[in-house]
Symmetry: C2
Subunit: 385 residues, 2 copies
């Protein structure tokens, strides 16, 4: 990070390092994987590395989506097309389109939809909303930003190296078909569920795409979501959050009211250029094009899952999701990660990076060009068969 | 907010409202002003309202800036031009351009520059960095997000209605020529300064545009800044933050290291389309065009300042800044705001919205079309002469 941590500095401020950040054990997962890749490339400068690590979209945007952003941007240089600050909560048309297109029949109002610059930023704003006097439970394995932002917010105890867990977090082993039970649990215990539906577009077997498909969820759940994986917006940055009117704190105060205050204070709206692209994704033409790219990635997932299965390995996911989890009983995730990288030049993600429940697994992403997916399957077959 | 706060709810969660958010006294300033405007428009539906409230840019972007974003967006629909996740810290070229163009001769490294989606979001991330066990001092009057995000983070005590101040915040009356003293104070006391240089482009009398012009500042200061006011990016959203290598916590740990962790965990990079626009702003052609728009607003500021001065009022700002502060001794800010709105249909900002030090003042913005500025000056003359 630019200076040796062991050098004796000639001057320090008197501001103490944030004790919550001191608790964090590792670098954030994905930058750590990038570092390992860079090291690998130094060792094997001519290797053709295939990246099946971070879930990063690879296929071009639909024409109408790119064109909408281009036209909006171009118009900003004209007196008629120039726009300054938009609403902190997002463009009204986009909020309406999300409510009507993606929450059709679920009675979500446009005023309950808040546009974000992506769900990772929004998760931290939700932490600011809830504050540090909150007890949290998290699915395990899970997206690391959930746990890390809770640690930063001071909601957790210290990290325990034996269990690989932070104190004061309840780690819930993930399983399917539990969404109804989860809502019932929240209703009984007065909890608030934060449901991340970033991969809803990949659900194809009738499983819920939104927490609000479960009866009673409006009173107990917030939903965060994103255009990243649905529409290839990982670098473009756009997401949304739903906070229903009926969700109330213990004193009867609406959560939506405070969330609106957070959005107005700690955010200033998503880029207007980008929001124009989001709106184009939800037009009938845009939606069709966007979902055909999702189908492409789903076919990738099928190819990967079948490859690992054919090698006699236990595979989870790959259906309803663009990720395949592969089980290596008795092995440590980071060891499998290193072995695969060293021998096949394929980047994966160690499952333990998503929590102790991910140990013994690696995760591979189905986001990628088809030829890379096929080449990766071939290399895996040579390594493992 | 969609439901009456007084209705008896049939179900509440058991999650307590965040006590820090309960401390906040008012709606965030600018949405509150928008609400007042909406009420005014209901009363006077045919009034030609002039908005000199929030500092919102009004003039079109330079051609090359809009075109750079448009071209980047258009290319996202091609296999060659498509990009997924970028670096959380921002595009390397943009970080380099900021360091070399805007911090020329100040020895800021590109690795010390972090690209943000605007300084309002970044201020909250800085609060997450520093945590709640921090004692803060803030200039008074100041941008309300500084104080409100400190309240949300739990760094403050309760609001005191008598003084108009929150407990545990030191309110420092603003004055000029104190930057060197401020750096010396921080050095002596081990404080960290967070310096907002969002209006640096408006400085024209040789006053510092960056805190790093002051000797020793690298060891005690973070600088947040933004393209919003420099380049008309209020709705486009782009900013940056400088964290020098030499800035250390009391235990010698580099602040940059933790800030990088926050950026990787609580943010996922600014939009790639928007960053292309930022880069175009810093080309020789872009910078020239952008600064000629700044000159236009500065001329507006001069016109407004001269109008109020000619009416015998005391005026602050309007030089080195796109805002004019007008003193109305013995009057309450919100009363002046209401009187001006009611009688001239001009939106201003009550100075007290920026802290108790702003009481008896209104602030008017110089961002606006020239004809509106001239018309506003005329109406003010009729009202006040």
């Amino acid at each position: 990070m630019g200076r040796s941590l062991s050098a004796v500095p000639d001057y320090c401020t008197r501001v103490a390092r944030n004790i919550n950040i001191e608790k964090l054990q590792y670098n954030y997962l994905f930058p750590e994987i990038s570092t390992r890749e860079v090291e690998h490339m130094k060792k094997y400068p001519n290797a053709k590395v295939i990246r099946l690590g971070i879930g990063d979209t690879t296929e071009p945007l639909p024409d109408n989506v790119a064109l909408s952003m281009a036209n909006y941007a171009r118009a900003l240089s004209t007196p008629e097309g120039y726009k300054g600050y938009g609403f902190e909560q997002g463009n009204k048309e986009l909020r309406k389109a999300i409510a009507e297109t993606l929450y059709k029949d679920l009675a979500i109002k446009d005023t309950e939809v808040f546009i974000s610059d992506g769900s990772q930023s929004e998760i931290s704003r939700l932490q600011l909303l809830l504050g540090s006097n909150t007890t949290i439970a998290v699915q395990d394995p899970s997206f690391p930003a959930y746990i890390d932002s809770s640690v930063i917010m001071g909601q957790t105890g210290e990290f325990d190296h034996g269990s690989g867990r932070y104190g004061k977090i309840e780690y819930m082993r993930s399983s399917r078909d539990q969404l109804e039970q989860l809502v019932q649990f929240a209703q009984k215990n007065g909890s608030i569920i934060i449901f991340d539906s970033a991969y809803a577009a990949f659900v194809s077997d009738g499983s819920p795409r939104s927490i609000y498909e479960i009866p009673g969820a409006r009173k107990v759940a917030i939903e965060v979501s994103s255009f990243s994986k649905m529409a290839g917006f990982t670098g473009v940055r756009l997401g949304w959050t739903v906070v229903p009117d009926e969700l109330l704190y213990s004193n009867g105060f609406p959560v939506l009211h405070d969330f609106n205050r957070i959005i107005c204070t700690c955010f200033n709206g998503a880029s207007n250029v980008v929001q124009a692209g989001g709106l184009a994704c939800l037009s009938p033409e845009g939606l069709k094009a966007v979902l055909s790219v999702v189908d492409y990635y789903k076919e990738n997932a099928k190819i990967l899952a079948e490859s690992f299965t054919s090698l006699g390995l236990s595979v989870y996911g790959g259906v309803n999701a663009p990720y395949v989890w592969v089980h290596f009983p008795g092995s440590k995730s980071w060891d499998i990660f290193s072995e695969i990288l060293g021998k096949t030049h394929i980047i994966t993600v160690p499952g333990s990076g998503f929590g102790p429940g991910g140990e013994e697994f690696i995760r591979v992403t189905a986001f990628g060009h088809r030829d890379n997916i096929l080449e990766a399957s071939k290399r895996m077959r040579s390594l493992l068969s």
